[in-house]
């Protein structure tokens, strides 16, 4: 009894948080799910019923396999458990099949694979120092970080309502970051290589990994003032990193290389035929651009050259320049790497091609790690997270899920803002009046878009207005956060020695 007592006692708050959120995820099982549910069911069917040579050619369903091979193998592994739940879901011809057992299996598979995310969060908590912490548990940075990550609103609604597998993928990313903090670079590199072959969207942050590993791992020593000691370059390390990446890619793409299917695989992975913006505009630079374009066209100032000057490429020049600057003066170790990674993710979100609004999670989750460190980072994090999470609202448009998304959003936002404010109460306030006003404006915006507008006459003529307003309003916030982060990275005084983590 005593042992049970210790196990469930106040000492194990992390398990309580993890179990609590897992139970909440179980309660979300009967909620609305999007077409992504059918996408994954289809992939279960494809990988289970067809030979490998057919995986990237199968097109019975419109939701063709467009993730890298490791994810296909993952679905293959899942399908062997799926057959005990409902054999029918593994039939490729059963389009839109969603029996109760299928739903149960799919939902449980997401909840179960989140275990990796929980482990990654646990590792990340070890990497932040708690010097500032008070004695109170709820004011410790580790506690706040655990809540911010485990109970992240974006992950909950995208993974457990909308339906996706971002949990364990983000877990891989956070784990590789944690390994870098723990100076286990090879493991971190391996984890990231594996991650890339699960979901290629993580290519957005690959430059950060590449430059950091090159700078801090291949060059084994620094000069006393922190800059590069050119003669400390270690070829052995470079080769071993290259070997890791090569081996992982070989395992992943090897079978398809042997079948001469690489071009087909790549055409599935990178479909450039799609437009600059998705059906719903992700709140990035292009949203602001398109909005401006539309406004100009309505006014009548639409010059042909303006709208045709859409530069049709991915992560921009500014992004690349930023990296070069950062890493030429990279003395700040893993923390600098983290900031670079976030900047990569955010810049790619801002300027990327056919960006989904869900991609904001790529920046939000690593940013949580920084937010419990410095007040400046906390402020940027809160603006980014609040607007990023709000921009996910249009994903859940059903009436039954409306209270859930509002309640969870309020829960996360109120907790994150209040706990970080309490953590940094001895420093200057986190928000200035402009930022406070902007964040508070989200409330009336939501009321207007979901409660007022649908009952007005404009709803029939211009049904896209709520989406437009949400996208543009959030784009302003996200752009502002991106800009502030960029400025803080560029103007941050370099730290002499890396802090003891």
């Amino acid at each position: 009894m005593a042992a049970f007592g210790i196990a469930t006692g106040g000492g194990n708050w992390f398990s309580a948080l993890a179990l609590g959120v897992t139970l909440l995820k179980c309660l979300l099982i009967p909620t609305y799910h999007s077409t992504d549910f059918e996408v994954h069911r289809n992939w279960l069917a494809i990988t289970h019923s067809l030979p490998i040579s057919q995986w990237y050619y199968e097109a019975t369903s419109e939701w063709t396999l467009d993730y890298p091979p490791f994810f296909a193998w993952f679905e293959y592994a899942l399908s062997h458990v799926a057959k005990y739940f409902d054999q029918e879901m593994l039939n490729v011809r059963n389009l839109n099949y969603s029996s109760p057992r299928t739903l149960l299996f799919q939902r449980f598979s997401v909840i179960f694979t989140d275990a990796l995310f929980v482990y990654a969060v646990h590792e990340c908590c070890k990497c932040i120092d708690g010097k500032k912490a008070g004695k109170e548990l709820t004011e410790k940075p580790k506690f706040i970080l655990s809540v911010l990550l485990l109970w992240n609103f974006g992950l909950l609604i995208v993974d457990h309502i909308h339906f996706q597998y971002n949990g364990f993928l983000s877990g891989l990313m956070l784990l590789s970051i944690a390994r870098f903090f723990q100076k286990r670079h090879m493991e971190g590199a391996f984890l990231f290589a594996v991650l890339l072959h699960f979901k290629h969207i993580y290519l957005y942050i690959a430059p950060a990994y590449g430059v950091y590993l090159l700078r801090s791992y291949c060059f084994t020593a620094n000069k006393p003032d922190g800059s590069i000691r050119w003669n400390s370059f270690s070829f052995v390390r470079l080769i071993s990193l290259g070997l890791i990446v090569f081996l992982v890619s070989a395992v992943s793409l090897g079978p398809f290389l042997a079948l001469n299917q690489l071009p087909q695989v790549f055409s599935r992975l990178f479909p450039f035929k799609r437009g600059l913006c998705h059906a719903y505009w992700a709140p990035n630079f292009w949203a602001l651009y398109s909005a401006l374009d539309k406004v100009l066209s309505v006014i009548g100032l639409n010059d042909k050259w303006f709208s045709s000057a859409v530069p049709a490429h991915s992560p921009s020049l500014s992004d690349a320049l930023g990296h070069l600057y950062l890493h030429s003066d990279c003395r700040v170790g893993p923390r600098g790497f983290l900031r670079c990674l976030i900047l990569c993710a955010l810049s790619s979100f801002m300027f990327g091609w056919h960006v989904h609004e869900k991609a904001i999670l790529l920046a939000v989750l690593p940013m949580s790690l920084l937010s419990v460190g410095k007040a400046v980072d906390a402020s940027i994090f809160l603006i980014l997270t609040t607007t990023g999470h709000y921009s996910l609202f249009p994903l859940l448009f059903t009436a039954a899920e409306l209270p859930i998304k509002i309640l969870l959003m309020l829960l996360f936002t109120i907790y994150s803002i209040s706990s970080l404010k309490t953590l940094f109460r001895k420093e200057k306030p986190l928000f200035n009046w402009m930022e406070t006003f902007y964040l508070l404006g989200l409330g009336p915006l939501e009321v207007f878009c979901e409660f007022v507008f649908p009952f007005t006459s404009w709803n029939l003529k211009y049904p896209f207005i709520p989406l437009l307003l949400t996208s543009v309003y959030c784009a302003v916030g996200i752009t502002y956060a991106w800009f502030k982060l960029y400025v803080s990275v560029l103007t941050d005084p370099p730290v002499g020695k890396t802090k003891k983590q």
Partner: protein, 507 residues
């Protein structure tokens, strides 16, 4: 209060859990011709909106009392009327007379669930938050933990948001009553409690402790002076509130009598269906329902009920204190549940509410009781296809209580409030030192039994000759638990001396 944001987080979490549970099925979903409690509530909206007040409780061609006739006091009827008024704006088909019978749709379900949430938000949840904020000698962290655990209590969530009822309204009013009376706002407290009784007549289970506590207060103030004034004021408040609620039904004697007949169906037997009280469990061995005549049954139940609650009530009248009041609420309600007639399994919620209130004082036993109370409703929950939300909410509640209160470390005699009792017993039996250990082992056995029974009920089919085997087993086991708790709570009340009150709580 400091850390208000954590309290807000607890409330938001409670609301989220409530709404996610409400996405599941409700009682009688898709089961014509009678459906279930959900249809009953919809039907009451139909009746109260379309018919004049005089016909609400009477049998007529428009109002067939056999099909979910109104059997709650007038406040429920007024509440249904209010909901019907809103329903008319959204979709009049939902409450059209006769034609809306058995109406089921996703939109209607959302509307009905929303009415429960709004009622909860307006009445019950503020009462819980206020109660926890006003707890004395308790740290802020424990206040927030209490609020979280009370809001996560599975029984109320599953019945209100799963099965479909409005218990949070009557329990909320009762809680406001407890708050008022405990902090010397006696008139407002008794007004709130009268509203509770006029919403659901089962709240009469709580009426004796209220009566005894207020009477005790009057005695303490002296019946010659302030006490008498207080007594008169209270009487006037109670009478006025009843008159206000029943006004339309006081116009004719027949109206009042008919409502009373609907509220207290003495024609029905000692118990209906399977319920975890003494009579149902006893009938496993001896079918008293069939043997004894009707009026004898009522007499026996009356006697047992009052004999079991008399000691606690007398003590409360002689030594009124908020702590005694809370514990007497528990023991009285439990006595009524175990020995009264026509008890439904959902009435255990009337016992659970007071137990929630003492959660911060005896966390271990309270958590145990609240788990058993949810388990006792298992057959009902399974019938409504609420297995998954039940299991999840019970686990969530258990984890919340276990981590917030470290319940397994708090099983010493002092923490179980059994110190005075044990000391007295040790005067006769010096070796009586193993009480905490016994209780810990009992808890373990109890949890194992509950889990086993749940698994058996879900996975196995009962034998042909005994189709109700598992329901009866669940009721029987729960009844044994409740008897044990009745004894335990009465011990605490009777052995609670002035020494107990001076002990400082270290949290």
């Amino acid at each position: 209060m400091e850390k208000w944001y954590l309290m807000t987080a607890a409330v938001l979490l409670g609301l989220t859990v409530r709404w996610t549970v409400s996405l599941n099925s409700y009682s009688g979903a898709g089961k014509p011709p009678m459906f279930g409690d959900y249809e009953a509530q919809r039907h009451w909206q139909e009746i109260t909106f379309n018919l004049p007040i005089k016909q609400w409780y009477f049998n007529s061609s428009d109002n067939n009392l056999q099909y979910w006739g109104l059997d709650y006091p007038p406040l429920t009827a007024y509440h249904s009327f209010l909901c019907a008024y809103v329903a008319k704006f959204i979709n009049p088909d939902w409450i059209a007379l006769h034609t809306s019978r058995g109406y089921e749709s996703q939109a209607h379900k959302l509307f009905m669930r929303a009415t429960v949430l709004i009622a909860d938000l307006l009445i019950y949840i503020p009462a819980v938050v206020l109660y926890c904020c006003c707890l004395k000698e308790v740290s802020t962290k424990k206040k927030i933990a209490s609020a979280l655990c009370i809001l996560l209590y599975p029984g109320l969530i599953l019945i209100d948001y799963g099965h479909f009822q409005y218990n949070s309204v009557s329990l909320g009013f009762a809680l406001w009553g407890v708050l008022g009376v405990s902090y010397d706002w006696d008139l407002l407290g008794s007004l709130a409690f009268c509203l509770a009784i006029n919403y659901k007549q089962m709240e009469l289970y709580h009426s004796l402790p209220f009566f005894c506590f207020l009477l005790g207060k009057c005695f303490k103030k002296g019946l010659k002076g302030k006490g008498l004034v207080l007594l008169i004021k209270l009487t006037c408040t109670v009478v006025a509130s009843f008159v206000l609620c029943w006004l339309p039904f006081f116009t004719e004697r027949e109206q009042t009598l008919q409502v009373l007949r609907r509220l207290f169906p003495v024609d029905r037997g000692l118990f209906e269906d399977k319920v975890a009280n003494i009579w149902c469990s006893f009938s496993v061995f001896l079918k008293i329902r069939d043997i004894l005549p009707h009026h004898i049954q009522i007499m026996i139940s009356f006697c047992f009920t009052f004999l079991s609650l008399l000691p606690a009530c007398i003590k409360l009248t002689l030594h009124p204190s908020p702590k005694g009041f809370r514990f007497t609420l528990v023991s009285c309600a439990l006595s009524f549940f175990l020995f009264s007639f026509q008890v439904h399994e959902k009435s255990i919620l009337l016992v659970s509410l007071p137990v929630c209130l003492v959660l911060s004082e005896i966390p271990f036993m309270s958590t145990w009781f609240l788990l058993v109370s949810t388990f006792s409703m298992l057959p009902l929950l399974l019938k409504d296809e609420l297995l998954m939300p039940s299991v999840v909410t019970v686990m969530a509640f258990f984890i919340a209580c276990a981590t917030s209160f470290s319940i397994f470390e708090k099983t010493s005699e002092e923490e179980l409030q059994l110190k005075c009792f044990s000391t007295s017993v040790r005067k006769y039996f010096t070796c009586f030192t193993f009480l905490p250990k016994i209780i810990q082992h009992l808890f373990l056995m109890s949890v194992i039994a509950m889990i086993l029974l749940t698994m058996m009920t879900v996975t196995l089919d009962p034998p042909q000759k005994l189709p109700d085997l598992f329901s009866v087993l669940v009721c029987f086991v729960s009844c044994l638990h409740f008897l044990f708790f009745l004894v335990y709570f009465n011990i605490i009340i009777m052995w609670d001396s002035k020494n107990g009150r001076s002990q400082k709580k270290i949290n």
